[in-house]
Amino acid sequence: MKKLFQTTFLFAILISITSCFDVTEEVKMNADGSGELRLNIDLSQSKVNLAGYMNAGEINGVEIPSEAEIKSEIKKLKKALSKIKGISKVKAKSDFDEFVFEVTADFKNMKALNKAINASVKTFNQTPFPLPRFKHFSFKENKFSRLFNYTEERFTQEEFDGLMSVVRYLMESARVVSIYRFEESIKNVSNSKAKISPSKKAVMLEGNISEFATGKKTLENHISF
């Protein structure tokens, strides 16, 4: 039931977008375990349609939030993040011409980073169901880990194939990108799909939403130095 509701909501959002969109998660790690988080959602490829839908106020009976409402939500997120111990310099940028939204913040340690991610998800949760809290990152003894334990939220291939073709198309064309930057040189990464920069100071992993939703790809990555 929860998945049905989340799928319906996902559909309602996705149906407003007829082209690709990118979600980027970027973490810059310092050697002492602190760092900088950047979350970016780029909807610029759908900007013409989105502008139209926002002016109309609804699409297919689903209410589309206004610019003021979105700004209010972003302000809420900024406030929620600022309250977390270990989180500082929270900044939020929203560009309603290009439909690019970004939140950056400094974190003192992994605990604060994980709380920040959970708070972000909680702020944007429009469903009546509470979302579980996860541990998304860990960092100890020369090892940085991106965890990906969202097994219950995944779709089986059958469930995915059962979605409407337009939803499948949108999930296949929407990208998720994760970039992690480090001060030390990377020795090893566990995820075979991850790319290491020539400088060996950055790791990138990307895929479309459908791949992560069905478990074909995972963001899980253990990076050692």
Binding site: G162, S165, R168, S197
Partner: protein
Amino acid sequence: MEAISNNYFFNHKLLKTNSMKFFRITALLFLLVVAAMSVQAQNLKQYIPSDATFVVSMDLANLDQKISFDKLREFDFYKEGMKEFDKEMSGEKKELAEALKNPAAYGIDVMSETYMFGDISKESSFFGVAFNISDSKKFSKFFKNSILPEAKGAVMGMTGKFQTMTEDGATFAWNDKVGIIVGGEPNAGTDQSVIDGFVKKVLNGTPKNSIMTDMRFNKATKGRKSDMRMWMDYNWVMEMQMGGNEMAGVPGMEAMMTAMKELYKDSDYLVEMNFNDGAVVMDSKMFMNKKASDMFAKMTEGDLNKNFFKYLPKNNLMGYFSMAMKTENFADGMFQMFDPMIKEMGMTRESMEGMALGAVNSMGLEMDAKGLYEIIRGDMVFAVTGMREFTIKKTQYDDDFNKVEVEAQQMLPEVLAMMSYGREADLKKIIQMGVDAGALTKVGNSFKVAVPMEELPMDMFLTMKDGILFITNNTELATGKLKDGYSKSDRMTKDQQKLMKESGGAFFWDIPTSLNAASEFAKEEGMNDKMAEKMLNVSKQSFESIVMKTDKKIKGSYNSEFKLNFANKKMNSLEQLFNYFNEMYMTAMNSGGM
């Protein structure tokens, strides 16, 4: 028509009533019987009232020759449909369920004439179905065992030569040869007795008081043979459309509606569908009164500029739309049509043209009224002439995974719009105004349209040559490389040229070429929907093209034709259509559903 029938007939309260089991059964029977109709009925047509607003017929015997019912039963979608049907009917008597699946076994003559008709007005809505009975004993037995027991509270009687059973506004009537279902519902404020009157009129029908005496119906349908046909009184369509018009309070609208009703008075509309070998053909004819006919004939008069064909290629042409029209003639017709509305607003054609001229003259264009209609003459073509590689801006990541904007190549449709123009000097002045306003930039002998790159990832050009105004993203054409167009051997085929030349309006869509382009685009974008890919492949293999055309000359009726062409020219199109549906159905089922 579809909107009207949805509003007034198929969503009719009578058909949706759940409380009356008898009527639901009768409605199901009626729906199945609709699938077994034929032309030619002299004796059945006598039961269609002379003032019927629409008549539908289908020649199932003809269709059975094109694809036998036995073959239809073999299709997976049909088998699945029957399973669902059996589930729906599981609460009903077995005989009734069987009768709906195989009416012939219960004395209903499915291979001969049957008609569906209706009379819908503001006051009331009536409908009827008349069919032949092949075996009266079987039919009587079926009726007594399956229909009668379900019809508690029904009133039995006799009307004319028919035995009748009436319940809740619907009457089932039969004799040895003919069966009729007739009923209706009065709208608010109308007496229930009108239904009885309609029923009596139908059941007492004779050749002399039926649609058989309607001159317009006979003129439209006489001697015509088709697999499916619908005739309707276009007066009725206009009455219904005008009746619910929310714009009635707008100044001039009432006069406009009255004029439209007068214009379409005594008009009929006929649509016929034939499943030929290799193509499904749908013909429509609008029979109009002389005034309307003359007006439309004038409006659609025009010729297509033959020089257009120089710039339309044979290869990779995905589709086009053409119109052979004269702006002045079209304007004449529109002003004639809207004259009552214009007058009610206190204006005239001259005053409106004067206003337009005033605006045009103030921009520095010296023009008279005729000049207004000469700038763009009216004949035009819009075509998608292939796919072309365009440079677009894409966001990528550099070596250090920082976002950068790069230029990339992408295949996008190549489009071309051509219009004939008449006043070159004036048109050049208008274009210069576009340049001065920043909307156009001069590039050689052409003009680039200033549209933001992100919204249109290609350059659009505007250029003029030999009386043709081009708007295109084909840079070769725009920059003069194609100054004489394509070579004769590379131009569109003679058949295509003939279609465009001889039609008032023409539309063509090359299905496989377009689907190939769509498929390539999807692959480039990283889309990997296996089911969609399979469906695309099935469609590419099955279909060849869609062609629509309207007649250039109006003689007696305004005709148009829609043709769905299949790749296989030898197999009948009905069989190919069912094969296609079955393939799509199986693909969807094997992929987990749509």
